[in-house]
């Protein structure tokens, strides 16, 4: 049965089109311009969904984005607002909460149980027998409302956009349009955001005068320099007018716009409020605005015989529109004369309506016009505290900050002319307050000369007062207050009676306002029902805490593109070519090994190997006062570091906990190069800058992050000097001219401006070569080529980790943790208490005697057992520490470990028990030195 009417004057549908689509497996057609729901309504469909708890049949009620009964699954997209989403050909749509079918929902049996399913019934049962609780859980979870999320990735969103409007207007009804026009005419850059598909607000579905006014506004808006975003929503106002706008129908998908607005003008209009009475959720009970939208925008007749309950002019207008469309008006109930509706009756839709006095009227449509809710959410987010005005039965804005203004229905009522004159003044004032630079526009747009300048004095705003409105919230029978959550008047009353006497508690207990509409339809009725139940004055009712987002926004659009790039060394092409095994190390992906890490170790220990250490953090420090900074952040002595020397140091946070380690070289009197751990690079840079900016702004120190400027490679092994001698120019490499822990600059493989220092993590004679990044690959390949006859191989992170463990070098963050103070690392010699101060000094001095655990080298008695890292160490049944690093040593042919042990178990020779993850236990001995191999360091210094 079609409910499509002959052509209506303001309709937005294209009658020449025919869009096929599917709904719940059936074939339907609609027209371009239809929403999914208007197309279904035009096809005569009345029941669109089942409710959350009682599975009651539901139909169209508000016919806009907020309609709680019109959340559909569309393809793989859940929870689509089908009374807002425009129909597209071929759409596959379905209702969400019904099983096995919308017509027969098995769970509707809960309706029969409804007397027992009051608020929080689940808190009162399902406790015993306990073994059934998991079963109850599963059953309760099947009631979850909402559609099915897609398991398939693939949906992407366009890049986010930044905008800087002088004036951002939220709401594109007549007031919003006028405010935008007027601000733009004063030279402000204006963005106008409207949730509907076209500007015009309620004028779109109003009468011919309204349509005329709208046509005029649209002409002026088009002529003004205003960016208009329809089907978009201002979803959040954050500190300093940082405003989130979601552009829903951007061609590439939902797009997030982040706007820094000079002034935010809030003009969302009003949201029509349902009345709570028995049967108020039946299909066929619609709000007056919904009836007019269906009639006048989509030419859909919402019923054939109507009862209209009206407390305002909108109700009368809806009745007139219905009559005009051929709907029989069975009764016009004038709420201002004290008449009202007692209940609506019917099973799957309204069949009759009982009025005050007991009279029952047969009807398939009940239209209610019982007042409005002011959507003050954006104002609340700006710190405004709206107050409830009992005269007009709605919230009105309170004191506002300078950079937020409001106009339109949210402020007050009046004729279109009244609204427009208020809005025009607000627009002018917003332009003035935004303090925009009209001069920019004058340069860009010749027509700007015609613009009036912003006024210098504050613009006086005409008064716009809300009109009195009868207090119609809840009827004499219990009806639904929250349609998404199936919460009734009785539920709110029951909650208050049970002691939930704060409105916040009652809302949480009943879940009223917790659903997809977030209070837009239900907050006032819930507050009133609660005030009555607790015997409090309605006037004192507070509003809910509106939190962002005002309307739901998709994760995809919020996320945008993931801007967290992977970092690769300049030598990556080589690693890829030879098929190195990668490992993720913080932001970096680097070679873990090139096939056989143990063989790489043997090659380094016997001849020479090269490792890519480009991710090593590098910070250049220049200035007179660099030594002061070094003294402050490192625990050891730095002031006497000679030009050409390199020194190792550890850095502690102010609590004495080790935060990073590395070396720093002095290139010249006032020029240093610091290295940090790969993962600590950014943190150390921040740390240095923080000291300089906050504690010592007078120091002459400049920092430059150099990590990416150099490709770094460590040439390690007994043949490393021989290899470098073939490639290096301008540096004497013999031990006397270039001793351990010194730095030299020169040319390597023809590349000038390289620097080399003698040190390494492997314990072998080694040179770390730092090459301007662009030439890194060339030098790397030259090293391997020239070293071929020496047996030179590339080695990866794993081989280095084995060798550093053989040498007992610790890794910050692996062998230390959030409590490891410097003493615990066994490097007390690097803590110089003679210095007047350094970060962590107080804490370290004070805790010297008892620094908790100690880092020690440990060897299992069974050389074949490698206790996995994180294995716990026991003494008896007491936990005394853990294995922090462990490997099989190819050099020693046995397992080796570093461990943190409590001090009473850290003495060399102590035997402890290691508890392996598989619950077996092995014995292990604490070693004398951290180094398992070459503790004297003779190889290193050769």
């Amino acid at each position: 049965m079609t409910a499509r009417l002959p052509e209506r004057p303001g309709e937005v549908i294209d009658r020449s089109s025919s869009l096929p689509f599917r709904w719940n497996g059936g074939d339907y057609t609609g027209m371009a311009g239809d929403t999914i729901v208007s197309a279904l309504a035009a096809s005569g469909v009345r029941v669109l969904s089942r409710s959350f708890k009682y599975r009651r049949p539901r139909g169209v009620m508000t016919a806009d984005f907020n309609d709680p009964n019109c959340l559909f699954q569309v393809g793989d997209e859940p929870n689509v607002r089908a009374a807002h989403r425009l129909l597209e050909p071929g759409m596959d749509t379905s209702s969400q909460t019904s099983w096995p079918s919308l017509r027969f929902d098995a769970k509707a049996a809960t309706q029969a149980l409804s007397p027992f399913l009051g608020p929080g019934f689940y808190y009162k049962t399902f406790m015993r027998p306990r073994f059934l609780w998991p079963v109850y859980q599963r059953v309760l979870r099947t009631f979850a409302a909402g559609g099915k999320p897609s398991p398939q990735p693939g949906h992407s969103s366009p890049d986010k956009r930044y905008a800087h409007p002088d004036v951002l207007v939220a709401g594109g009804g007549p007031a919003g349009m006028m405010a935008a026009i007027s601000a733009a005419e004063r030279g402000a850059r204006v963005m106008l955001v409207d949730e509907q598909h076209e500007t015009g607000g309620y004028l779109r579905w109003s009468d011919s005068d309204g349509r005329l006014a709208l046509a005029d506004l649209r002409t002026r808006l088009a002529a003004a320099d205003v960016e208009v975003l329809t089907d978009s929503v201002v979803f959040g106002r954050y500190d300093h007018n940082w405003v989130g706008v979601m552009q829903r129908s951007h061609p590439q998908g939902e797009r997030l716009i982040k706007a820094r607005a000079g002034v935010l003008v809030v003009a969302p209009g009003l949201i029509e409020r349902p009345l709570a009475f028995e049967g108020n959720d039946l299909p066929g009970v619609v709000l007056s605005g919904a009836a007019r939208r269906l009639l006048n925008l989509y030419a859909v007749r919402p019923g054939t015989r109507a009862v209209v309950l009206s407390a305002n002019a909108e109700g009368a207008a809806a009745a007139a529109d219905l009559a005009d469309a051929g709907v029989e008006i069975a009764a016009f109930v004038d709420a201002r004369a004290g008449e009202t509706v007692v209940r609506a009756k019917g099973r799957t839709g309204v069949r009759s309506v009982e009025l005050t006095g007991g009279k029952t009227v047969e009807a398939d449509l009940l239209v209610t016009a019982t007042g409005w809710t002011a959507p003050t959410a954006l104002l609340n987010m700006a710190g405004v505290v709206p107050t409830f005005d009992p005269e007009s039965s709605r919230f009105v804005p309170g004191e506002m900050p300078d950079d937020v203004m409001a106009t339109g229905g949210i402020v007050g009522d009046g004729s279109v002319a009244d609204l427009l004159s208020h809005a025009a003044a607000v627009g002018q004032e917003a332009a003035r307050r935004s303090g925009h630079k009209a001069v920019h526009k004058a340069a860009a747009i010749p027509a700007a000369a015609a613009l009036a300048p912003p006024s210098k004095e504050p613009v006086e705003l005409p008064t716009l007062e809300p009109e009195p409105h009868p207090p119609l919230f809840i009827g004499s029978t219990s009806g639904f207050i929250d349609f998404s959550e199936d919460v009734t008047t009785k539920d709110i009353t029951a909650a208050a009676d049970e002691g939930y006497r704060s409105l916040e508690l009652a809302k949480r207990y009943t879940t009223a306002t917790m659903g997809p509409t977030q209070g837009k339809l239900e907050v006032i009725n819930a507050g009133v029902a609660h005030a009555i139940a607790t015997g409090r004055a309605i006037a004192g009712m507070g509003t809910t805490t509106w939190r962002p987002p005002y309307a739901p926004v998709s994760l995809g659009a919020l996320a945008g593109r993931m801007l967290e790039p992977v970092r690769h060394s300049p030598l990556q092409p080589y690693h890829e070519r030879v098929g190195a095994q990668p490992i993720v190390a913080g932001q970096w992906i680097r070679p873990n090994h090139y096939g056989d890490p143990a063989a790489e170790v043997t090659a380094v220990r016997s001849s020479v190997g090269v490792i890519d250490v480009s991710p090593l953090g590098k910070i250049e420090l220049r200035g007179r006062d660099v030594p002061k900074l070094l003294e402050l952040v490192y625990t050891n002595k730095w002031s006497k570091l000679a030009v050409g020397s390199v020194r190792y140091g550890i850095m502690c946070a102010e609590d004495g906990v080790v935060m990073d380690d590395g070396v720093t070289a002095r290139f010249a009197e006032d020029r240093y190069m610091m290295t940090t751990t790969s993962s600590g690079a950014a943190g150390v840079y921040d740390w240095l800058e923080e000291w300089l900016a906050t504690a010592h702004p007078d120091w002459d120190v400049r920092l430059t992050a150099m990590t990416d400027a150099y490709a770094s490679m460590n040439v390690a092994g007994p043949e490393s000097r021989a290899l470098l001698e073939r490639l290096v120019e301008g540096i004497e490499l013999d031990a006397e001219s270039f001793p351990h822990m010194h730095v030299r600059t020169g040319t390597v493989a023809g590349v000038a401006d390289c620097f080399l220092w003698r040190l390494g993590f492997t314990g072998e004679l080694s040179f770390e070569v730092h090459v301007p990044a662009g030439y890194g690959l060339h030098v790397w390949e030259a090293l391997l080529e020239q070293g071929a006859d020496l047996g030179a191989v590339p080695f990866g992170l794993e081989a280095q980790r084995i060798m550093r463990l053989e040498k007992g070098h610790f890794i910050v963050g692996q062998d230390t943790d959030g409590l490891t103070r410097a003493h615990s690392t066994g490097l007390s010699t690097l803590i110089n208490s003679d210095k007047p101060d350094f970060s962590g000094k107080q804490e370290l001095e004070w805790s010297e005697a008892d620094s908790g655990t100690m880092l020690v080298a440990l060897q299992p008695e069974d050389p074949a057992v490698v206790p996995p890292e994180a294995s716990q160490v026991l003494s008896g049944n007491t936990l005394v520490g853990r294995i922090t690093s462990s490997r099989m040593s190819p050099t020693l042919g046995r397992s080796i470990c570093l461990a943190q042990l409590t001090q009473d178990h850290a003495a060399p020779g102590t035997v402890v028990t290691v508890h392996l993850p598989d619950r077996t236990r092995v014995r292990a001995r604490v070693m004398e030195h951290h180094a398992h191999f070459d503790p004297e360091g003779s190889r290193l210094r050769g």
Binding site: R141, S156, Y238, W242, P516, S554, L558, G818, A870, H915
Partner: protein, 422 residues
């Protein structure tokens, strides 16, 4: 260990039978009382900790002359703002023991309180995206096992089985290498926990005073004598600071300085969808945790904001980052929508462990500094605190958490595992 003899009589039993019988007509879960001028114990803060303490004081120790003073409504602070995750897979043995006791109490709570707190033990999974966090997961698993707590390290394919929407492929930006799997963990209805304790505490005789703000703590000769409230003075020999978010300010009323900074912790919830995610998913590297409520909503949280503040407003920056990280874990959820965001306040201590015990002011105890863990800790904290008050000695379970540790330098080691330790 509990002495249930002193349990108060509930005004009405909750059961399926009573639900049929009473339908919607139930007596008040807790009553509005006149403020007395003296109480044996005053608990400041009507959140989970204060109410649980009142309950255990009455039921385990027969101490019922107790007032819980709440400046707003019960459970309106951290108790109603957290993401309702319960677990005991901590890093230090002390932490594991403490939170294990809490999990055990939570498991019994519905029956104990005769209030279904809807504890859904669907498991708790902490993802590791690099070998260093995988090492920490192993560390936690080993400590947990030694303390008798069910935790183990699982592989990507096991992760996929438990949570099919997670991308465990190796081509994501932060590939998943494994996870710490903790089957006893899960989510709970946090409001129900608050209400259940309040109802049982009220039944046992404690007075719950909502909309009553403590404006002063009266101290004479280094001993507490009572509190001043917005509704009048109360004298009491024992006063306990069970607040969060403002705990350092409340302690300062008694002249007690605490090493606490307060930072916002933000969270968000999506629209409901049908059930597709059972376990709680946590990723430290991506600073996010996700669970799906019984109602079908996804609840997200992150790490605390990197600055101190008493603001409970959310930020745009936060939900952008959060959405990005959720999609990194579950890339097919791009069309799910965020419904609401909010923030709670976390009182952070230098070592991310709480401060619980006596202070230098006689009779003035603190139960504060719970950082992001307060909700998980509630039952065990309440039980221990009640025992401490009743016996005037410090129970072993909370002995490591005294305020004196900051002077002695014996800090707790949860910080390393705590950055996003939900």
């Amino acid at each position: 260990m509990s002495n249930k003899g002193a349990r108060g009589r509930l005004p009405a039993r909750f059961s399926a039978f009573d639900l049929m019988r009473r339908r919607r007509s139930w007596p008040q879960a807790w009553r509005e009382r006149d403020l007395k001028s003296t109480y044996d114990v005053v608990l400041i803060g009507g959140g989970l900790h204060g109410l649980a303490t009142a309950y255990y004081l009455a039921t385990n120790h027969g101490i019922t002359d107790v007032a819980v003073i709440e400046k707003s409504y019960i459970g309106g602070g951290g108790s109603g703002r957290n993401t309702a995750i319960v677990r005991s897979n901590y890093l230090t043995p002390e932490g594991v023991r403490f939170y294990d006791r809490s999990v055990k109490l939570y498991e019994e709570l519905a029956v104990d309180l005769n209030f279904n707190v809807m504890f859904e033990q669907r498991g708790h999974m902490t993802l590791a995206h690099n070998d260093s966090s995988l090492r920490t997961m192993r560390w936690r698993a080993e400590v947990n096992k030694l303390e008798g707590v069910d935790s183990s390290v699982i592989t990507p394919s096991e992760i996929k089985q438990l949570a099919p929407y997670i991308d465990v492929s190796d081509h994501s930006r932060y590939p998943i290498l494994g996870a710490l799997w903790h089957p006893p963990g899960g989510i709970i209805r946090h409001d129900a926990v608050v209400w259940g304790y309040a109802r049982a505490a009220d039944a046992a005789g404690a007075h719950i005073h909502q909309n009553t703000e403590v404006t002063g703590i009266d101290v004479e000769q280094e001993k507490v004598t009572g509190v001043t409230t917005s509704r009048g003075k109360i004298s009491a020999p024992i006063v306990v600071n069970c607040t969060a978010g403002w705990s350092s300010l409340v302690a300062a009323l008694a002249g007690v300085k605490l090493p606490i900074v307060t930072r916002p912790l933000q969270a968000a919830v999506t629209e409901p969808v049908q059930s597709f995610l059972d376990p709680v998913i946590v990723s430290g590297s991506l600073h996010v945790y996700v669970s799906q409520t019984a109602r079908g909503e996804l609840v997200f949280g992150a790490s605390v904001d990197p600055f101190g503040s008493y603001s409970t407003r959310g930020s745009l920056d936060f939900i952008e980052g959060l959405a990005g990280h959720v999609l990194e874990l579950m890339p097919s959820l791009g069309r799910m929508r965020v419904l609401r965001q909010w923030a709670g306040l976390c009182d952070m201590t230098p070592d991310y462990a709480p401060i619980i015990g006596p202070t230098h002011v006689g009779g003035f105890y603190v139960d504060v500094g719970w950082g992001t863990y307060g909700f998980k800790a509630g039952p065990a904290a309440g039980e221990s605190l009640a025992q401490m008050i009743a016996t005037n000695s410090i129970p072993e379970l909370i002995a490591p958490f005294g305020v004196e540790r900051f002077a002695a330098g014996t800090l707790m080691g949860e910080k390393g595992a705590a950055s996003v330790g939900h």
